[in-house]
C-alpha cells in the first residue's frame, strides 16, 4: 500500500497542497478529482517524484520511502497527459527502450512488447512513429511503455483530456481491465463521470486554500 501523510506544497508563496493524507490500496483504483488549478497534477507529480513536497512523507507497505526510491525499484509507472512519447522511435522501440537500457535482454523486451502490443491492440502500429498515431493510439502506447517496466502502481494524469469524448468509455474499460488484473492505479481527472466509472475510491482535492 502506498501512503502519503501531511503533504504540503507552495509555489511562489501560494499554498497549493496543505497537509494532505492519501492512501492507495493494492489492486484498487484511486481517482483524485477536483476542478482545474487545485493541485491535482502537482500531487500526482509529487507521487511520481517529478516535484518535491515541502513537507510530508511517503510510505510503501509501511516502510518510509521516497518517490525516487520507488521509481528506482520499478514500482511506479506514469502515463502523462500529453503522452510524452519519444518521437524519434517507433511504437515498438518506445516500449522496449527503457527495459533494454535497464538491463533486460532485447529478446525479453521484445517478448514483453509483443504481449503489450497484442493486449492494447497496437500490433498493426508497431513500426509506426508517434506522429502518425491517433490520440487514443498514442495513449495506449504511453500505457504500454509504462507497463513494459512491470510497475506495481500506475499513475495517470488526466487520461481523458486529450481524447475525443467518444473514446472516454474505452479508456475506462481499459483501466478496469488493468484493475481486474491486479494493477494499483491512481488517476487524476477533472471528469467526475469518468472517475465514477473507474474508481474504487475518490479523493476530492480541497479547494480555496490560502497562503
Amino acid at each position: 500500500m502506498l501512503e502519503l501523510t501531511g503533504i504540503s506544497k507552495q509555489f511562489n508563496g501560494r499554498t497549493i497542497l496543505k497537509n494532505l493524507n492519501l492512501q492507495v490500496t493494492d489492486g484498487k483504483t484511486l481517482a483524485i478529482v477536483g476542478p482545474s488549478g487545485v493541485g491535482k497534477t502537482t500531487l500526482l507529480r509529487i507521487i511520481a517524484g517529478l516535484e518535491d513536497a515541502d513537507q510530508g512523507e511517503m510510505t510503501w507497505n509501511g516502510a518510509k520511502t521516497t518517490s525516487e526510491e520507488l521509481r528506482k525499484q520499478g514500482i511506479l509507472g506514469v502515463v502523462f497527459q500529453n503522452f510524452a512519447l519519444f518521437p524519434q522511435y517507433t511504437v515498438r522501440k518506445n516500449i522496449t527502450l527503457a527495459p533494454t537500457l535497464s538491463g533486460t535482454s532485447q529478446a525479453d523486451a521484445d517478448k514483453k512488447a509483443d504481449e503489450l502490443l497484442n493486449q492494447l491492440s497496437l500490433t498493426e502500429q508497431e513500426n509506426a512513429y508517434p506522429s502518425t498515431l491517433s490520440g487514443g493510439q498514442k495513449q495506449r502506447v504511453a500505457i504500454a511503455r509504462a507497463l513494459a517496466l512491470n510497475p506495481d502502481v500506475l499513475l495517470y494524469d488526466e487520461p481523458t483530456s486529450a481524447l475525443d469524448p467518444a473514446l472516454r468509455d474505452n479508456v475506462a474499460d481499459m483501466l478496469n481491465q488493468f484493475k481486474q488484473a491486479g494493477m494499483t492505479q491512481v488517476v487524476v481527472t477533472h471528469d467526475m463521470d469518468f472517475a465514477a466509472k473507474v474508481a474504487d475510491t475518490v479523493f476530492k482535492m480541497p479547494i480555496g486554500l490560502e497562503a
Partner: protein, 218 residues
C-alpha cells in the same frame, strides 16, 4: 587548358589547407559547442551554474559579436604582445574553434530548449540515467532541430577559411590571388570560385542526406 594544368597544383595545395582548417575546426567545435550549450541552458539556480552561465554568455557575446578576422588577428598578432605566442596553424585553429564553438553553443542551446520538458520527465520516470536521457532521448531530437542551422554554419566555415590568408597561410583563395596577380588573368579566380562551389555543393548534399535520415519523425 595548359594554363589551368599549370596553376591547378597550387590551387589544390591551397584547397588542402582550406580542408584541414575546415575539418579540424568542425571536429573540435561541434562537440565543444554541445558541451558549452549545456552550461548555457537555463535550469538550475545553483550559484556555480549561474556563474558558469554568465561567463558563457559573455564568451558567446564576444565571439559572435566581433569579426572572426579581428579574432584571428588578435590571436596571432595581438597576443604575442602580452607573451602568448601561437604558430600560424595553431592560431588559426584556436581562433576558428573559439568562434565556431560560440555559434554552435547558441544553436544547440536553442535546440535543447526547444525539446518539450515532458520528454525529460518521461525519461526520468522510465528510470533512464542522465546520460541515457541525453544520448537516446534528447540529442536525437535536438539534432533534428539544429540540422538546418548547423548546415548553414558548416557552409559558412568553408568560406570563412579563406580568412587565414591574413596571417600568411596559403589557402585556396591566396593561391588563386597570387596566380591571378602574377599572370594578370581572371582564370585562377574563376577556378577558385568553382572549387568553393564544388565544396559547398558536396556539403549541401551531405546535409540533405542527413536531414532525410531524420525526416521520419516530427
Amino acid at each position: 587548358m595548359n594554363y589551368i594544368g599549370e596553376i591547378l597544383p597550387a590551387l589544390l595545395n591551397g584547397t588542402w589547407t582550406t580542408l584541414w582548417v575546415f575539418a579540424l575546426t568542425l571536429v573540435i567545435s561541434i562537440p565543444l559547442g554541445i558541451l558549452l550549450s549545456l552550461g548555457l541552458t537555463k535550469g538550475t539556480k545553483n550559484p556555480l551554474a549561474v556563474a558558469i552561465r554568465w561567463i558563457l554568455n559573455c564568451y558567446t557575446w564576444i565571439f559572435r559579436g566581433t569579426p572572426l578576422l579581428l579574432q584571428l588577428i588578435f590571436v596571432f598578432y595581438g597576443l604575442p604582445i602580452i607573451g602568448v605566442v601561437f604558430d600560424r596553424n595553431s592560431a588559426v585553429i584556436f581562433a576558428f574553434v573559439l568562434n565556431y564553438a560560440a555559434y554552435f553553443a547558441e544553436i544547440f542551446r536553442g535546440g535543447f530548449q526547444a525539446v518539450d520538458r515532458s520528454q525529460f520527465e518521461a525519461a526520468t520516470v522510465l528510470n533512464l540515467t542522465r546520460w541515457q536521457t541525453l544520448r537516446y532521448i534528447i540529442i536525437p531530437q535536438v539534432t533534428k532541430i539544429v540540422l538546418p542551422s548547423i548546415g548553414n554554419e558548416v557552409i559558412n566555415l568553408v568560406k570563412d577559411s579563406s580568412l587565414v590568408y591574413v596571417i600568411g597561410i596559403g589557402d585556396l583563395l591566396r593561391a588563386g590571388n597570387i596566380a591571378s596577380a602574377r599572370d594578370v588573368t581572371l582564370v585562377p579566380l574563376v577556378l577558385v570560385g568553382i572549387i568553393y562551389l564544388l565544396l559547398t555543393f558536396v556539403l549541401t548534399m551531405v546535409q540533405k542526406q542527413v536531414e532525410k535520415k531524420f525526416a521520419n519523425f516530427d
